[in-house]
């Protein structure tokens, strides 16, 4: 640690870390509960202008683009539930839209290994987590379970006495069908006509379409994790998890 803090400051900074760990825990729970459409309002900054949400193959920049992505997740969840209702009318046919929503996807993103650094000026913070996740989605081939191993890298800003996200990078090394080896060619499941609409489903176009991280492949060169946060004074003096 660069700066020496008083006991009171240490207590406060410990609570700040706890807040950010809880925030990401809540984020992961919203994903599990298929409540992606609540994520922006609950966890993202309302004051920062240059917000960024990035994945392996691109980034959404700005509040509108990020909201549009989460809303697309909501629409997709809704579509999955309705397709399952059609496929299993005897079990699901009588459910209302409200009762039906959430059936199908099970996206688990448990976060571990937090490394959090709070700026000396207390205006921002940075966190890096490892995520041994899985998602059990319904795709064009029907239900499929996949392992997803990667990182959450987050920049936080302190506004109105709360920590909020202003850059979030979620990138994976592994995204493979459970039970198969990520070192070998994937054996995909055949498409099912009743789920064809999902194969055609499109997320919004990225604001920045570029490869941010390649998935593991036997010919991938060493690909380092998102940078480890280090102690810093102000955000201007450290790196950003945002994508240009």
């Amino acid at each position: 640690m660069g700066k020496t803090y008083s006991t009171e400051e240490l207590v406060s900074r410990w609570e700040d870390q706890r807040y950010m760990k809880n925030l990401m825990g809540k984020y992961a729970n919203c994903v599990i509960l298929n409540k992606e459409h609540e994520i922006f309002d609950r966890f993202w900054s309302k004051k920062e202008e240059n917000l960024c949400l990035s994945f392996n193959d691109g980034a959404y920049k700005g509040a509108e683009a990020i909201k549009a992505y989460y809303e697309a997740e909501y629409r997709r969840n809704d579509l999955v539930a309705h397709l399952l209702q059609k496929r299993f009318p005897e079990k699901l046919g009588s459910l209302s839209d409200e009762e039906l929503y959430g059936i199908g996807p099970f996206k688990v993103k448990p976060m571990s290994c937090p490394i959090i650094e709070i700026a000396e000026d207390h205006q921002t913070a940075k966190g890096l987590w490892y995520c041994q996740g899985a998602y059990n989605k319904v795709e064009g081939c029907g239900p499929v379970a996949r392992w997803t191993w990667g990182y959450f890298a987050v920049d936080f800003t302190y506004e109105d006495d709360e920590w909020k996200i202003f850059n979030l990078m979620y990138v994976n090394d592994i995204d493979c069908i459970c039970g198969q080896s990520w070192g070998k060619e994937e054996k995909p499941y055949p498409p099912l006509p009743e789920f064809q609409e999902l194969a055609d489903f499109k997320y919004p176009e990225y604001s920045v379409k570029k490869t941010i991280r390649l998935l593991y492949a036997p010919d991938r060169v060493l690909t380092k994790a998102p940078e480890i946060p280090v102690p810093y004074r102000t955000f201007a003096e450290t790196f950003s998890y945002g994508i240009c």
Binding site: M1, T7, L10, V11, W14, Q17, S112, C113, P114, I115, I116, L128, Y130, Q132, W149, D173, I174, G179, Q180, S181, W182, G183, K184, E185, Y216, A217, P218, D219, R220, V221, L222, K224, A225, I228
Partner: protein, 262 residues
């Protein structure tokens, strides 16, 4: 609190902060491993005090390397040599993969993320002990163009010591419970552990102190490395170094059950 000391508020928050810093240190190690930064790990995260460097140790199932020089030879030099050999084989099989330094570690992926952290800070605040579990995996490119992906669930036990206000790794034991290829049924592997072919044992080589300290034939529950308990000050008796090893009460066939017992 298990120890009987009374702490001031300042001491208590310092202890809370120390535990946070220790967790952060071991989390950084996870990233260093993923980044193939073994040399940097030893420089940044391990002990630097000459006396501590002499007594540092790195244990795995088949023994301990002791002293930072021996640890460096195993953990950095030997690993680098292995990876250079691997790249030569990949290049021989596929000349499109050039045998150049930039391609070292091509097709390799090492993930040892820890969870279930259990940290005990000594009553005197000078050392600490921690135990974690990792559902780890290591993947290496093969000359046939595939990657060999191995699950490696393991316990990671660490002694930490404070040097100039920074916590450092002093002794570590990584006890691997299982090595199993991804996509295969791990209940169908050989009944008895094969030390000649097991990739973890082969990679570990012949350590400074060669002895079986974690027997996965029958002793997944051999309690080595043991859970840290509250303690006042560091001593050999509580060390995760070789001096602290105690032969488990239930050992080998005497335990009458274990892996593949049917």
């Amino acid at each position: 609190m298990a120890n009987s000391r009374q702490y001031t508020d300042e001491e208590l928050i310092q202890r809370v902060w120390d535990v946070e810093e220790i967790k952060k240190l071991i989390h950084k190690r996870v990233i260093y491993i993923a980044n193939e930064m073994r040399k940097e790990e030893l420089n940044d995260l391990w002990v630097q005090d000459p006396e501590h460097k002499k007594t540092a140790s790195f244990g795995r199932n088949t023994g301990y390397y002791t002293g930072m020089d021996a640890i460096y030879d195993y953990y950095v030099v030997h690993h680098q040599n292995e990876r250079e050999e691997q790249l030569k084989k990949l290049h021989a099989a596929n000349p499109a993969i050039a045998d150049i330094p930039q391609n070292l570690h091509i097709g390799c992926l090492s993930s040892h993320p820890v969870s279930t952290g259990l940290v005990e800070l000594a009553g005197d605040g000078k050392t600490a002990k921690g135990l974690w579990y990792a559902i780890a995996q290591e993947t290496e490119a093969q000359p046939d163009g595939t990657g060999k992906a191995l699950w490696m669930p393991e316990k990671i036990a660490v002694d930490f010591v404070k040097e100039n206000d920074d916590w450092k790794i002093w002794h570590i034991v990584v006890s691997t419970d299982l090595v199993s290829e991804a996509g295969e049924d791990y209940s169908e592997q050989e009944v008895y552990h094969n030390y000649e072919t097991n990739p973890v044992d082969v990679e570990f080589g012949t350590p400074t102190i060669a002895k079986l300290i974690h027997n996965t034939d029958f002793n997944w529950w051999d309690n080595y490395p043991p859970m840290p308990e509250a303690y006042e000050t560091f001593s050999d008796a509580v060390s995760y170094g070789p001096e602290g090893y105690v032969r488990p009460a239930l050992y080998g066939l005497d335990s009458k059950e274990g892996r593949n017992f049917r």
